[in-house]
Symmetry: C2
């Protein structure tokens, strides 16, 4: 099962792809799509749509998991963020992919085991769970965390499983 | 020049297509795409995207004009509206169409000659300017008004032109 996680944003949209084979997770790819605030909104949304579309065509994920964005900002920014998230979801539905939505709390709970963990803790656990050699950027890391959350059914089992595997056998 | 006007919304997205030949405007088509609040967000965005995509493929517009939405509502609704608007813009950019954005004030100014006109006045002027036999629904009417605004370069010239034509020759 291949999962594409997305951390949507108008300026930076993070993406992260992982494979789940049984109880094992494997890193496939990650990165981010940046758009310039000098551009108008429609071409910025096109960049997000086309960028994610290319990633989907290249990596052929089975599922898409997208972060529920934080809305306690000013209305103008909320509207812009909404439009970026809309474009990201469009890239998935265009490719007939099922989209699951997870809150930051669910993602942190699933990855760190604490819904109120800091971004750096999430990043750290992403590196451990996927046995990465370097740290991915914060947006890519959030997207990978979203994919990990989906891999574990949105529950708080990823961190628990990691520790179990650590005690049982180093993988 | 064929213009597709869009009045975006998650529940109802209005669309209206007009042709501009010289200074004459002609009605082509209008209607709305409805999505159910019983559905999850991704399939609702897919309906908007696929619906507008079909309309674009069927009518082959040269330009897309979309209404700037009103953001002085609660953050959750603003975010949902933003996502619907993002999906509408995606349908346009997917087809490599240029998208122009107009505020409600600009549209009312262009169609009625008064930026603070009521929706019913806009509807009435849309019927007159396009010589329609019946009233289009309020969402379709807003979308047609947006297209008319684009046809007149976003300026307040449509209503003025109508009166000019009325005095000169009934068309």
């Amino acid at each position: 099962m291949r999962i594409l996680g997305i951390d949507p944003g108008l300026h930076i949209t993070g993406f992260g792809i992982i494979d789940k084979m049984g109880s094992k997770l494997a890193y496939v790819s990650s990165g981010c799509i940046k758009t310039s605030s000098d551009s108008k909104l429609p071409p910025r949304l096109k960049l997000i749509l086309d960028g994610l579309n290319s990633i989907i065509l290249q990596h052929d994920p089975h599922y898409v998991a997208i972060e529920q964005v934080f809305v306690n900002i000013n209305p103008k920014s909320t509207l812009l963020l909404g439009q970026a998230r809309g474009a990201a979801i469009c890239a998935a539905v265009l490719n007939s992919l099922e989209v699951s939505e997870y809150t930051a709390l669910q993602i942190k709970q699933a990855v760190v085991g604490n819904g109120h963990a800091k971004k750096e803790q999430v990043q750290e656990m992403v590196v451990r769970l996927l046995r990465l050699e370097g740290k991915p950027g914060i947006d890519a890391s959030d997207a990978l965390a979203c994919a990990i959350c989906h891999a574990h059914g949105g529950s708080g089992s990823a961190a628990a499983m990691y520790y179990y595997l650590k005690r049982g056998r180093v993988v």
